[in-house]
Structures are given as C-alpha cells and as structure tokens.
C-alpha cells in the first residue's frame, strides 16, 4: 500500500501542501528524486525506513497503510480516480478542502457520521432544494452552529467554480 500511496503521488505529480507562493498552476510536481528513491527501495528497505521513526508514528503509518490495503480493487480504483481529480483542483481549493477536513475530524465520531450523511444528501440536491433544506427547522435544530457552518462551506466547495 505504500507503493500505492507513492505510486499515486508519482502519477498525479503534485505536491500535497503548497509551500510558498504559487503561480496558479494546478499541479506541483513531487520532487522526483524522493519518489524514485521510494520506488527503488525493496520492501525490506521501506520497512527499515519506517523502523527509524518513533514507534508511535511508525505504527500509525502502518495502520493507515493497512486500511487502504484492505480496500477492494474497485474501491482503490475509485479512490485513485478521486485523488487524480482532486490533484487537478487549484491549490487554493485543495487547501480549503484540507482545512474543512481538519475541522470535520475534530467532531465526535457520531457527529461526523451525521454531518457526512447530511453532506451526501445536500450535494445530491438541486440548488433550490438544498437551500430549502438548509433553511428548514429540522436542519437548524439538528446541527450546532459550527456544524451548520461546516456544511455550508463543504457544499460550497463542492460547487463547480464560476
């Protein structure tokens, strides 16, 4: 799965987090030297590379990698496709998405579930129906102010750019 993650990085050719000003390019190439090194490592070398990390961090990475290893081929294919599309977004939109994601992860798990379900529901609605839904009593009572704001911004992010 590390190969998948690195392969994805190689395929999409974009850096994850922008550092410094950008010229508005949609993609930023990952330094090829680093990617090539990972790709040329044997599994044993990669294992040893991770071994040098503090145990907690190593375990965390290995756990996360295993989570994706356990996805079905179809799920992996879909996720690769989404990753490819995501990497084509302007850097500002990518950063905004990551900020919203971090706010989402701060919710309690049961609230994450509710917000995720609502987001799935909202983005499938036509604009007018979405506005009606977000102005409804049920929506207002169901979510905290912060959750409502998060949903506003998530659905806004999901709109096509003007």
């Amino acid at each position: 799965m590390l190969v998948l993650a690195v392969g994805l990085a190689a395929q999409q050719g974009g850096a994850r987090r922008p550092v410094g000003p950008r010229a508005g390019a949609a993609r930023n190439p990952v330094p090829p030297r680093l990617v090539e090194r990972w790709n040329h490592m044997t599994p044993e070398q990669r294992r040893k590379a991770l071994e040098r990390l503090p145990p907690g961090r190593r375990e965390q990475i290995e756990r996360r990698l295993e989570r994706y290893r356990n996805l079905t081929p179809e799920e992996q294919r879909r996720l690769r496709n989404r990753y490819e599309l995501f990497s084509q977004l302007p850097p500002e939109r990518q950063d905004q998405a990551r900020r919203l994601w971090r706010r989402f992860t701060m919710l309690m798990p049961e609230r994450q579930q509710l917000v995720r379900e609502e987001f799935d529901h909202l983005r499938a609605l036509p604009d007018a129906d979405r506005r009606t839904r977000m102005n409804s009593e049920e929506f207002r009572n169901r979510f905290t102010a912060g959750e409502k704001q998060l949903l506003v911004e998530l659905t806004g992010l999901n709109q096509p750019e003007p």
Binding site: A49, R52, Y83, F86, R98
Partner: protein, 159 residues
C-alpha cells in the same frame, strides 16, 4: 426543597441541572420547585442561554502536521539524549586514553549518520519522504470519507 439560589452551597444543583447531570428524581423535584421560584427559573434561562453561547464556540481545527511535529521532537530528544549519554560516558572515564574515547565518539556519530536503511539516505530526507506519504494518506482519507470531487467526478463520467 430549599431554594438552591438562596443557599450557595446547593447552587451546584442548578448547574448540574442545566448540564443535565442530575438523576431523574432530583430533576423532578427541582423542576417542581422552579414552577414556584422565579429566581431559579431566571437562573435556568440564563444558564441555558450561556450554555448555547458556549456551545457555539468551537475551537479552531488542529494542524494536520501536529503529530508529525511532535514525533520529530521526540525523535530529536532521544537522539540528543543518546549523544549526551555517550559524551557523558566518555568524559566520565578519565582512565580511558583520550584517543580511545575519541574513537568511541566517532563511532557513535558514524552510527547516527549512517543508518542501516538505505546507505545514501539522510535521516532528514527519509523524514521528508515519509511526510509526503503521510500527506497523501491524509488526502486519501479525506476523499474516502468526504467525496469533495463528486461533481467533478460526475461530469467527467458523462464526458
């Protein structure tokens, strides 16, 4: 029931009531008291308003690299500790010839600078590479849970 407002010692009853921490029986007693006590009703209304206002204050999100920075500091501390212990040991052994002590220090530095992983990879480069992998994993998790490219995905399918 003695009015909790009048007895400050029992005021926590009101706080616990507003926080929904009281058992059913005490809640019932207190609510019956409140029916006839404007001060307690006012307290309840004011505390509820305060609770809602405090609920609205959600903290800023945590930086995505918080864990990485922490682990890096832990790693740096443990490396510094290793070097310090080696230096302290070398300096504590006055009977050792200076040359032998110097060799020990050099050996220790060699071990630190030449990990058994990939001989030409510096520790800093490995950390950077791992950070890139971690960032990719972050993005994958985000896209798995929140498909933020659904519209783009849909439009690309219909093209």
């Amino acid at each position: 029931m003695t009015c909790p407002i009048e007895t400050r010692e029992n005021a926590e009853l009101l706080l616990d009531y507003c926080a929904r921490k009281l058992d059913a029986e005490t809640t019932r007693l207190l609510e019956r008291h409140m029916q006839g006590c404007p001060a307690c009703r006012e307290f309840r209304a004011g505390q509820k308003l305060l609770w809602d206002a405090l609920d609205a204050w959600e903290a800023m999100p945590v930086s995505g690299d918080f864990n990485r920075r922490l682990y890096r500091r832990i790693e740096e501390e443990s490396r510094a500790g290793w070097r310090q212990r080696l230096m302290a040991w070398a300096s504590w052994r006055p009977a050792l010839p200076v040359a032998a002590a110097a060799c020990l220090v050099l050996a220790g530095s060699f071990i630190l600078r030449n990990p058994a992983v990939v001989p030409d990879v510096s520790p800093e480069a490995v950390v950077t590479e791992v950070e890139q992998v971690e960032r990719t994993l972050d993005d994958l998790e985000m896209l798995r849970q929140l498909n933020l490219v659904a519209r783009v995905e849909d439009s690309s399918r219909t093209m």
